[in-house]
Amino acid sequence: MGFLTIIIEWFPYLIQGIFATLGLVASALFLGVVLGLPMAVGQVYGKRLVRFLIAIYVWFFRGLPILVLLFLFYFGIFPGLGMDVSAFFVGATVLGLRGAAYQSQIFRGAIQSVSEGQMIAARSVGMTKLQSIRNVILPQAVRVALPGWSNEYPNILTDSSICYAIGVMELMTRTSQIVSQTYVTMPIYLVCAGIFILLNYGGMRALHMIEMKIKIPGFGTGAA
């Protein structure tokens, strides 16, 4: 019975980690879209130099382990820039910049899957290239990308636990703290695992609902 009381006693402390974890995931997904989508557009439609710079970016953030990126930013880049930022800020930034690299490639594939005729038709009614991309290409590409993009959620959610290494007070960090305070291991880690699974399930359900909501005849998104 001992560990049950311990769990009940520490549960509120653990629960607070959910906010940090979800905060990390939300920042990463947000930055991923805000940076990843324009990067994808740049990679498909941009000039040679633009495409080159984006390729370098993607290569860098996909090429390094998260842990290396975290330490690089936490101990190197941010201090080097004279910025005194929280561990959470570093974690959210690194997951976000890394997410943007991955997500840009999901969006790039989706943009390239939109048939060439769509751009031709948009230009033929007098839209500029930018108007065509915004009003015709992206609305279609985003629908194509959504299933693949949704898959980034569990990836980033599970990846976020590695922010433990720089002391972000998220689920994993708090779990370890409780373990070292109470010497109860298995039950505490199981509770932590349970919370991750619930967050995963809930998030995927929510994303699936969005997919269904923006579903349009002729687009295979979220098809059974």
């Binding site: 230009r123 033929s124 009614v125 839209m127 015709v136 349009i216 687009f219």
Partner: protein, 251 residues
């Protein structure tokens, strides 16, 4: 006489893709309200010629004039000219993520800056013109080829263009659907719309066109009215071409 005004002038258009010279100096004039049909074997540059008119394909040489203004070398102004040159494609190219009515109104809103309510009214009016008003809220994937093509004609019409280019508008359709699209086009021609039509529909060309251009190997080889084409001996090559169809269609 307004009817004799030249609305579109195409001068000496050349276009090569790599080593292949697709257009070898094509010139012609179109008068306001005229319907001109381009016929000829596949791969002779008819579609490329159409795309050179609104610069979807950049010609290597030559010029295009719309109502006395030069379309070629117009820089950013090209988007303005394209509003005045409608285009209908073989494979429709409707915007797949938009309903029929949204397909027609989007350029009115985004390009012409029309108010959404006004644009909706105009779009519905154009859909009525092509008999598609009952399908306004349907997506392209839910339309037959003939219906989709009629919506795409409405999309072109909505911009109030000076001329509409039809690039083999019925080549992707079965005979029944072809007929419903040709009827719409015939109605437009009779209503005085200026049209340039690349087609393999000889019946349509002969009954609707003011002039027929026969193209081969990147040049206009023979041209004249349908009547001339039927009777005049100089249209030998063209008659041979049409004769092939008769052969296939059976004795």
């Amino acid at each position: 006489m307004e009817n004799t005004d030249t609305i579109l002038r195409v001068e000496n258009i050349h276009k090569s893709f790599g080593d292949l010279e697709v257009l070898k100096g094509v010139s012609f004039d179109v008068k306001k309200g005229e319907t001109i049909c381009f016929i000829g074997p596949s791969g002779t540059g008819k579609s490329t010629l159409l795309r050179c008119i609104n610069l979807l394909t950049q010609p290597d040489q030559g010029s295009v004039w719309l109502g006395g203004e030069e379309v070629t070398n117009s820089g950013k102004q090209i988007n303005h000219f394209r509003q005045r040159i409608g285009m209908v494609f073989q494979n429709f190219f409707l915007f797949d993520h938009l309903t029929a009515v949204r397909n027609v109104e989007i350029a009115l809103i985004k390009v012409k800056g029309m108010k959404p309510k006004e644009a909706r009214e105009k779009a519905l009016e154009e859909l009525r013109q092509v008999g598609m008003e009952d399908w306004a809220e349907h997506y392209p994937a839910e339309l037959s080829g003939g219906q989709a093509q009629r919506v795409s004609i409405a999309r072109a019409l909505a911009m109030d263009p000076d001329v509409i280019l039809f690039d083999e508008p019925t080549s992707a359709l079965d005979p029944e659907l072809t007929r419903e699209v040709l009827e719409v086009m015939k109605k437009l021609a009779l209503a005085g719309m200026t049209m340039i039509v690349v087609t393999h529909e000889m019946g349509f060309a002969c009954s609707v066109a003011n002039r027929i251009m026969f193209m081969e190997y990147g040049e206009i080889i023979e041209q004249g009215s349908p009547q001339e084409l039927m009777s005049d001996a100089k249209f030998e090559r063209c008659k041979n071409f049409i004769g092939q169809f008769d052969g296939v269609n059976g004795d």
